[in-house]
Symmetry: C2
């Protein structure tokens, strides 16, 4: 191909024509569009990501390093080390006062990869999934690039509190609905589903033969009880339930890319092969770090939660006092998600805010059209840094 | 769901009915079916995997550990650390005496993930890919679970040497062909494509607008020259070429799950988002290990290649002397792939061999119907271990 013979504009089309339509049309992730502006810079206040500012605890890093030194650098079990899978089954069993069979547990290359596997197992082009929004966009967009229609059921604000209308949720389902996706505690809203709504959704899914994908990665970041309600507490082992979890949030391991799936046991053999044909297992030495996290990490989880509570209390009251701002007190997760009167393009606003002040927030539009006009601030951060950010925001939003 | 009310046979169908047809029908990976028998055991001679018996060099592990200690445990660049991408561009540029722009390079969660991304970018259900076989099954099967027809063009043995018939290759292509997939040096055959056939295939792909996916993960394991012929040596930057590579083989990093893609620069932004919606980047500290490998690992590559040459010379002549065995002298990669007269079910044979002798080989059937009756032995192993395996095989195949 001699590029010199073709005008640039003509070249463009043939190049893109080599890609699938769904890839060309793939929605960009708008959090990334903002964070890219300041990636790696030290002189900014980055509250745009969904991660705490704590590095991974040393006992986790050292366990991984020890495994490297022992030469655990070879191919390993596709679904995860048996001892890690058992530890996760035990961990969930204890947390939820139930029994989780190890055959239900598969370790994945991040919570995102867990969602990818869940979708690849159950959805075809032409199907739809029903998503409670506003929500972290990746699971919605991952459905979309598979030719699946991601339907959106917005939470509504009722006296400043996020509420899910079950009738709206069920009315959004039809014969092509393959999954209802529930992210609770929710990113970005901090919405947390309660037991009665969980039971209603699970019953509906059982009766209709619809999968329930529960993204529970924020399960431990909850402020009025030890753990957020989990579908695992009420489901039978054979229910059409896929629970997605991750080491990222609870143990400050966002950079490790380790998650896990809890699903009916019969799916294990399929997940084994699907993992083989996609990423082929999490590095064994990293899994040894994860094993340390899940078996010895409870003090850290408690410490992180307390840090987040302090962060929340540093941020939310001050946001509430800004006249242009509307915000629900988040009961879980680690985000202040707030609406600002007069903002109609949150992506441009977030970029401008960053350029003007070096405070990085995520634009609400990243979480769907329902999020337009809103901003997300991650408060899993040092108190002083949050105070500094609030000083800036109070002036900027005055 | 009350499982007690339903007979087991009836239960089975509804459960599987919840999965996509392509997942239910998904071909199992037959290497894994054998290796699973002995995973983690120390008292066996495992020559079934595609990996050397060397642990990852300490300088790579220590670089990763240092990065962990420095707190590089956060979210990172989706397509890889800029310094790693630049190092890979420089590495390939030097190896192939050409210029590779960093914008063409994306780091992936293993070579397998690179293939997954390549397929997701370009193939739809109903398309076909054309594959040169027998071949490592995962790339073929990954196409199949996407509803793509993987066509097979077998190499033929000519006076004991593997040959590719280009006419057969091109005749297998039609209007629905989206990619020709070339794995050279080849797993399991050790077949290595030469320049003239590379040029013919690249020309054909340019003219027909077909993607060329080149899996070059064994590029450094070649015994009659420093590096195997690469499509990167002859392609223009905008050619429809996706080269898949990996840290696994050259630097004994199979357990790290790090690979990279070299593609036209315009694909970078799409790969960025596709990685975000699948695995969201390789752990940063592991990437720092990879950076050490690619910048300081040449002495190790030379050592590994020499070890493989010694392994090859320990194994291949003795196999040739077994009357029932047919084998081509492998010029590249690290496999002895050999046919045994009288074996009609290589999977059962490999399992029985393992049960009887604790020598683990991969069944030829794992690499396609063309591989039935063959076995694959990985000779990237300690000389004494290989001698012991050959003592067993000489008796077993007598």
């Amino acid at each position: 191909m001699n590029a010199g013979m073709v005008a640039p504009v003509e070249l463009f089309a043939p190049k893109r024509a080599g890609l699938r339509r769904a890839i060309i049309d793939m929605p960009k992730q708008k959090v990334g569009e903002v964070t890219r502006l300041g990636m790696g810079r030290k002189d900014i206040i980055p509250l745009w990501y969904g991660e705490s500012d704590l590095t991974t605890p040393a006992f986790i890093c050292e366990a991984a390093h020890e495994a490297m030194r022992e030469g655990r650098t070879f191919y390993t079990h596709k679904r995860g080390l048996p001892e890690l899978r058992q530890a996760l089954a035990d961990y969930m069993g204890e947390l939820y006062r139930t029994h989780i069979d190890v055959e239900r547990v598969s370790v994945t290359m991040s919570g995102m990869a867990a969602i990818m596997l869940a979708l690849d197992a159950i959805v075809e082009a032409g199907d739809n999934t029903v998503n409670i929004t506003p929500v972290w966009p990746n699971s919605v967009n991952a459905a979309e690039i598979r030719g699946v229609e991601p339907r959106r059921v917005p939470l509504r604000q009722e006296n400043g509190v996020w509420r899910l209308d079950l009738n709206r949720l069920f009315n959004a389902c039809d014969a092509r609905t393959r999954a209802i996706v529930v992210n609770s505690p929710g990113n970005p809203t901090g919405w947390m589903i309660e037991r009665d709504q969980q039971e209603a959704i699970l019953d509906y899914c059982r009766q209709r033969g619809i999968w329930l994908i529960a993204d529970e990665v924020y399960a431990r970041l909850v402020y009025d009880r030890p753990v957020a309600p989990s579908f695992l507490e009420i489901a039978d082992p054979e229910d059409p339930l896929i629970v997605v979890n991750s080491f990222s949030k609870s143990w400050a391991m966002t950079g490790w890319r380790i998650g896990w799936i809890t699903a009916p046991a019969f799916m294990g053999e399929y997940l084994n092969t699907m993992i083989e044909y996609s990423t082929s297992a999490v590095p064994e030495f990293n899994q040894v770090g994860a094993l340390a996290a899940v078996t010895k990490g409870e003090p850290f989880v408690a410490e992180l939660r307390e840090r987040c509570r302090i962060g929340r209390d540093a941020v939310v009251p001050r946001l509430k006092d800004i006249p242009r701002v509307t915000i629900d007190e988040p009961r879980a997760a680690f985000y202040a998600f707030f609406r600002v009167d007069g903002i109609s393009d949150s992506l441009s606003f977030a970029k401008q805010l960053y350029f003007d002040t070096k405070v990085g927030l995520a634009p609400g539009a990243a979480f769907g059209p329902e999020g337009e006009g809103w901003l997300r601030l991650c408060f899993a951060s040092d108190r002083k840094r949050l105070d500094a950010a609030m000083d800036v925001l109070e002036r900027y939003l005055a």
